[in-house]
């Protein structure tokens, strides 16, 4: 039985036929020490997750092996693939990285195994509040917060200076709009008909203390929306101004995070709200010669812009959670592995290699973090006031409704858009409208 060549040969056959695979398992030939293989479905990154998987496999001392399986690159595609597999009770999903907005949908459908009592304190200790809040469903911690991403305001120092904006103090959208008009520069926001648009619109509402969905745990028929409100009018006015006055650039209605970054680097770049990935990306561009050092040195950062003076802007919360599949055969080992993956040191390293900020505050303290990601204080400040998008199991219908009615940005009307989007979303939630 221990003859390795025989095992290997048997494994080869196993690849070819299911029946053989069963035989191999029965004969105990699968591995030396009964190590369980955990499959971790990850979103594509720079390889940081695969490295963590290897490190934790090593650390488990042969108890389990984590293998990673790559999901599509956009969050919507990741959700589609995971949800289809889970709907058919796929037991190969042990651990999965899911985007923060899809937690309620997965939890409400009983697709994820809630976090056992023994891990709750560990998984929430020292974690930024918005990241914990968005990991809960019906007062239970259902996923482990790992990364807490947020957007900050990136600006060109020369433009802000010429416009006379004091960037040491919080700025408002109106001030940025004024400055961009004044200097004939662009504001990089995300006008594309995609999730990025909802991220922006939601931040504009939350910055005024209004929520898009007031009672996220209600049944779809009884949902109450905060869309049609004075806050909505102001939000629509900001989107409309940037869209229709050309402040977002020529391709604003198709501008996503990547595109906004490219325009920000260009000669018309002025301001931009964006995730922190832009910093390492611009740094890399300087290194490979596609971006001038001068431009890079001109880039500054500040907390997410406010809507009303005096109230800090509610920066959007993003980032990944780690969930354990409800149909996994190795749930205990999976939570153990998550505990290993979440270690503060690993989160700091991941922040440096892959650019996604950690959910645990202590992970920002690493001196290397301050060195590699000098904007981290702005991130931490933004995270403290960050707000999640609606925590609802029907989030996909909500964001779809917003994307349809708030696009193209140039056609948004402060008088009618908030109301039409509210009506559309309610119809979608009741299953009375197509999306």
């Amino acid at each position: 039985m221990t003859d390795p060549s025989r095992c290997r040969r048997t494994r080869l056959l196993a690849g070819a036929a299911m029946a053989t695979a069963t035989l191999v398992a029965l004969s105990g030939c699968g591995s030396q020490e009964d190590a369980k293989t955990l499959t971790w479905y990850i979103d594509p990154d720079n390889g940081g997750k695969a490295a963590m998987a290897d490190a934790c496999t090593e650390a488990s001392g042969g108890k389990y092996t984590i293998q990673t399986s790559m999901l599509p690159s956009d969050a919507a595609g990741q959700r589609e693939q995971l949800i289809r597999r889970l709907a058919s009770k796929d037991n190969s999903i042990d651990i999965m990285s899911i985007d923060t907005v899809y937690v309620p949908e997965f939890a409400n459908a009983d697709f994820i195994a809630p976090v056992p009592e023994e891990y709750v304190d560990e998984f929430t200790e020292d974690v930024v509040e918005a990241a914990v809040e968005s990991s809960m469903w019906e007062d239970q911690l259902v996923v482990a917060p790992v990364q807490a991403n947020t957007q900050i305001l990136w600006y060109r120092k020369s433009v802000a200076e010429a416009a006379g904006l004091d960037m040491d103090k919080p700025v408002t959208w109106d001030q940025i709009i004024e400055a961009a008009k004044d200097q004939d520069k662009e504001i990089g926001a995300h006008g594309i008909r995609a999730e990025s648009l909802t991220v922006w619109v939601n931040a504009l509402y939350e910055s005024q203390g209004e929520a898009i969905v007031k009672d996220p745990e209600a049944e779809p028929e009884d949902t109450e929306l905060g869309l049609d409100s004075p806050a909505g009018e102001k939000a629509a006015q900001i989107v409309d101004t940037i869209g229709s006055e050309g402040l977002g650039g020529p391709n604003f209605s198709n501008l996503d995070e990547q595109g906004a970054m490219l325009r920000f680097q260009g000669e018309n770049g002025g301001f931009m709200v964006n995730w922190p990935f832009v910093y390492p990306a611009m740094k890399a561009a300087v290194e490979d010669g596609s971006l001038d050092q001068e431009v890079f040195d001109d880039v500054g950062w500040a907390q997410y812009p406010a809507v009303e003076e005096g109230t800090p802007g509610a920066a959007p919360l993003g980032g990944g959670k780690l969930a354990v599949g409800a149909f996994s055969d190795h749930q205990d080992e999976a939570f153990e592995a998550i505990s290993c993956i979440r270690e503060t040191q690993k989160q700091s390293e991941y922040y440096i290699t892959d650019g996604l900020p950690p959910a645990t505050r202590a992970a920002f303290d690493d001196p290397k973090v301050q060195q590699e990601a000098p904007y981290s204080d702005a991130i931490l400040d933004s995270l403290d006031v960050a707000k999640s998008r609606p925590i609802s199991p029907y989030y996909n219908g909500i964001t779809g409704g917003i994307q349809r009615s708030w696009h193209p940005p140039a056609d948004v009307s402060p008088e009618s858009t908030p109301k039409t989007s509210a009506d559309l979303i309610l119809e979608i939630l009741r299953g009375e409208a197509l999306l």
Binding site: Q258, G259, H407, A433
Partner: protein, 328 residues
């Protein structure tokens, strides 16, 4: 099914008798054959049936079952994440779909793109077929290969190439045309133009291939006779070539229309349905896969299926396309 078949056969036969005497005679022969079949014909038919039934059974299994399943599901209000709360809603899904302006808008766009691309492809495809047929022997191979290359490229790959060619960040077409800051995917008509262009580029070879088959069937002496009779180039095309390849034109038209109507990849890759460019297929995808409203999505799919069936019917009944024409 059987009734329908016989009916179809009869109409096409009547049509054949009407048009050409020669074909009429062969049709008459067939009709006589039907009356008293020889033992040999019967055996051949039996053998054919025996050889074909496994394929038929597999086809029924892999297409029939999902179609019936979709029809069944379309009568339920069902969400994939909440299967226990599904309930029968008496066809309300169809009412929802058919009263939703979005359905009519996507249907309109789908028809627009179908008619436009198929019309352009037909003309282009015919031109290419003529080139392929008449090219000098030495260059015939390379020319045919070049014309057919786009058809060999996977639609998604082609769609991405076109997207990146026009995209404001990576595209070079804008620079060529001196419109560096024009966002092609930012409004309806330019999105429509790029999507159509990609479709036409990709599927014209298919049409020209079918056309080539039709062109090759036209007897050379017929054209020669027309030339001798003093017919001009144009007259030869309109009076001799086109009428004689009507069958292949109609078959090409039908296949392409059916395919164009189900357009999905290009739209999904290039615009994801923004700016009014959603098609019926992408609507079905959105309801079923993104919204997980399997009931509503199935209703859209069933309606799409019915629309495709209607197009088939229109061609076969309305334009008398004889799918068995190639056999005779």
């Amino acid at each position: 099914m059987t009734n329908d078949d016989t009916h179809l056969l009869t109409t096409s036969e009547t049509e054949a008798t009407d048009t050409a005497a020669g074909q009429g005679a062969s049709a008459a022969g067939k009709r006589k054959g039907k009356a008293h079949k020889s033992q040999r014909t019967k055996d051949e038919a039996r053998l054919g049936l025996m050889l074909a039934w496994p394929a038929g059974a597999v086809l029924l299994l892999v297409t029939g079952y999902p179609i019936l399943q979709a029809v069944y599901q379309s009568f339920f209000n069902k969400r994939l994440t909440d299967p226990d709360n599904a309930y029968f809603n008496w066809g309300l899904n169809y009412v929802t779909v058919l009263t939703d302006p979005l359905w009519w808008q996507t249907l309109g766009f789908t028809l627009l793109i179908t008619v436009f691309t198929v019309a352009v492809e037909l003309v282009l495809g015919f031109a290419f077929a003529v080139v392929m047929l008449n090219a000098l022997k030495a260059v015939r191979g390379p020319i045919r290969t070049i014309i057919l290359i786009p058809y060999g490229i996977i639609t998604v790959v082609a769609a991405f190439s076109w997207k990146y060619a026009f995209d404001l960040g990576t595209g070079f077409v804008g620079t060529w045309l001196g419109m560096e800051s024009f966002d092609w995917f930012g409004n309806f008509w330019s999105s429509f133009a790029v999507i159509s262009l990609a479709e036409i580029w990709k599927t014209t070879p298919f049409i020209s291939l079918l056309m080539l088959a039709g062109l090759a069937q036209i007897p050379g002496d017929m054209l020669e006779a027309a030339t001798v009779d003093g017919a001009s180039r144009w007259q030869r095309l309109v009076r001799v070539t086109l009428p004689n390849m009507k069958a292949s034109i109609m078959v090409a038209l039908m296949f392409r229309t059916l395919e164009a109507f189900r357009i999905f990849d290009s739209v999904f890759v290039m615009t994801e349905g923004a700016n009014g460019t959603a098609t019926v297929s992408s609507l079905a995808y959105d309801q079923t896969i993104s919204q997980l409203q399997t009931g509503l999505g199935s209703a859209v799919s069933v309606l799409l299926f019915i629309a495709v069936g209607l197009i088939c019917l229109l061609f076969i009944k309305g334009f008398n396309v004889n799918l068995g024409a190639g056999k005779e």
